[in-house]
């Protein structure tokens, strides 16, 4: 029994059907971790992107090194680092938060690149036109560059959202009860790993399909030239 739900080991089918609700509870944790991790990645990534674009080398260079470091080292070790080291500095977060933070930090390195590429892709002519019209720097950014950059960055960000979702199972090593962890516990107790793990694989496939389709729909809905401003 897990989460108060009993499973039925009478037959393969019965077993599968009975553990499904348990796995779905795990799936809900997976979804929450994905969303939170993605949010952190979006925000922190923007910070890195801004720092890396700074004209002062003393600001941009460390930011570049940090993002390269985050990008080139395993999520697993980053996760362990946060989980074991943060408490030593007095910061004790619940495991779920630590997990989401690790996901967010790792992917912030990727999202910062997406921001940079998306903004750079907005043609230089746009900046020049804005300057010729004497628009201020901030207004140029928020009303000219950003609306045009958004449709470009959505597909890439969407792909990272799906990637984050596929990395959530790592959080099981710090005891977060996401879907894979739940399946493993069921397996440990019943010695039948095949059905729980296969179900998890299938649910993941479906989740990936749904998420990817959602990203594609959003991409199609956004006009290619940019968010329309009236």
């Amino acid at each position: 029994m897990l989460f108060g739900i009993e499973w039925d080991t009478s037959s393969g089918w019965a077993f599968a059907v009975s553990i499904l609700p348990i796995l779905l509870i795990g799936m809900w944790v997976t979804i929450q971790a994905t969303v939170l991790g993605f949010f952190i990645a979006l925000v922190v990534g923007l910070v890195w992107a801004a720092l890396k674009a700074a004209p002062l080398k003393i600001i941009s260079w460390p930011a570049a090194v940090v993002t390269e470091f985050l990008r080139d080292t395993p999520l697993l070790i980053q996760l362990f680092f946060l989980y074991y080291v943060l408490p030593e500095f007095g910061i004790t977060l619940p495991a779920f938060m630590t997990g989401a933070l690790a996901l967010g930090l790792q992917y912030s390195a990727y999202t910062s690149e997406v921001y940079r590429a998306g903004i750079e892709a907005v043609a230089k002519g746009q900046h020049e036109a804005a300057r010729a019209l004497n628009l201020s720097g901030t207004r140029t950014f928020t009303h000219i560059v950003l609306p045009q950059a958004v449709p470009r960055i959505v597909p890439a960000m969407g792909n990272y959202l799906v990637s984050i979702m596929k990395d959530v199972p790592l959080l099981s090593v710090v005891t977060v009860l996401e879907m894979l962890n739940v399946a493993r516990i069921i397996g440990d107790r019943t010695f039948n790993y095949l059905i729980p793990l296969s179900l998890v694989g299938a649910i993941y496939l479906i989740m990936t399909l749904v998420a990817s389709s959602g990203v594609r729909l959003l991409d199609n809905w956004l006009p290619k030239q940019g968010i329309p401003l009236k």
Partner: protein
């Protein structure tokens, strides 16, 4: 223990990590070419198998795949009476290869499809068979296109090897976790481990860049 004493066990682990990366990248590359070309094949069965493989291994989590191969496959084997228990090394390399092969297959397919239609027409005018055209005209031209994404995939693979520590393979991540358990000196050990992975990644990136230059030497702008 002072930190220099951590280096020895960590280095041993790093060596295993390097081996795992090499094996899985090589096998993964073979799978990537097989499935990438397979997805473009005329034979619908080959196409279906390639697409199935790519979608399944790209659509599910690597850790799930790893655990499935290590924990679930033996159970399936029991049911049909064959011993399908994989040693951790086999399960690890297999999972990593299958995973990176699926991502690589899309890179291969995209690169082959990016070869201009003109080249196929020139080959046809010279009476090349379709197979000859693929191997002698399309594939050689597509390889430089594949290199930058392959470089990224290689780094991703290096990072992914850390997951095999969870099925008790003595790689760098496993050794780090072992040491931490023993000494509780989390900060130093994990910092060292992170720095070592970072170093390995930088070396791998440099190697991939060299490879990129080597395969692209016939291109305009190559030095």
């Amino acid at each position: 223990m002072d930190w220099t004493q951590y280096l020895n066990p960590l280095m041993l682990g790093a060596w295993v990590t390097i081996e795992l990366t090499i094996y899985s990248t090589v096998f993964g590359a073979i799978l990537a070419f097989a499935a990438g070309i397979g997805k473009l094949a005329h034979n619908p069965l080959i196409r279906a198998i390639s697409i199935g493989y790519i979608e399944i291994f790209r659509g599910t989590s690597l850790l799930v795949q790893l655990f499935w191969l290590y924990f679930a496959l033996p159970v399936a084997g029991q049911a049909i009476g064959i011993d399908l228990r994989l040693p951790p090394v086999a399960a690890g390399v297999l999972a990593l290869s299958l995973n990176i092969g699926a991502y690589g297959a899309e890179v291969v397919r995209g690169a082959i499809q990016s070869v201009s239609k003109d080249q196929y027409e020139a080959a046809k005018a010279l009476n090349f068979t379709p197979r000859m055209t693929l191997w002698r005209v399309a594939l050689p031209q597509s390889i430089p296109e594949m290199m930058p994404p392959f470089g990224n995939l290689a780094i991703q693979n290096l990072k992914d090897t850390a997951l095999v520590s969870l099925i008790s393979l003595s790689d760098l991540a496993f050794r780090a976790e072992q040491l931490r358990n023993f000494t509780q000196d989390s900060t130093t050990i994990y910092t060292l481990a992170l720095l070592m992975y970072f170093g390995l990644a930088l070396v791998l990136t440099a190697m991939m860049k060299l490879l990129e230059r080597f395969v692209g030497r016939w291109r305009a702008g190559a030095r």
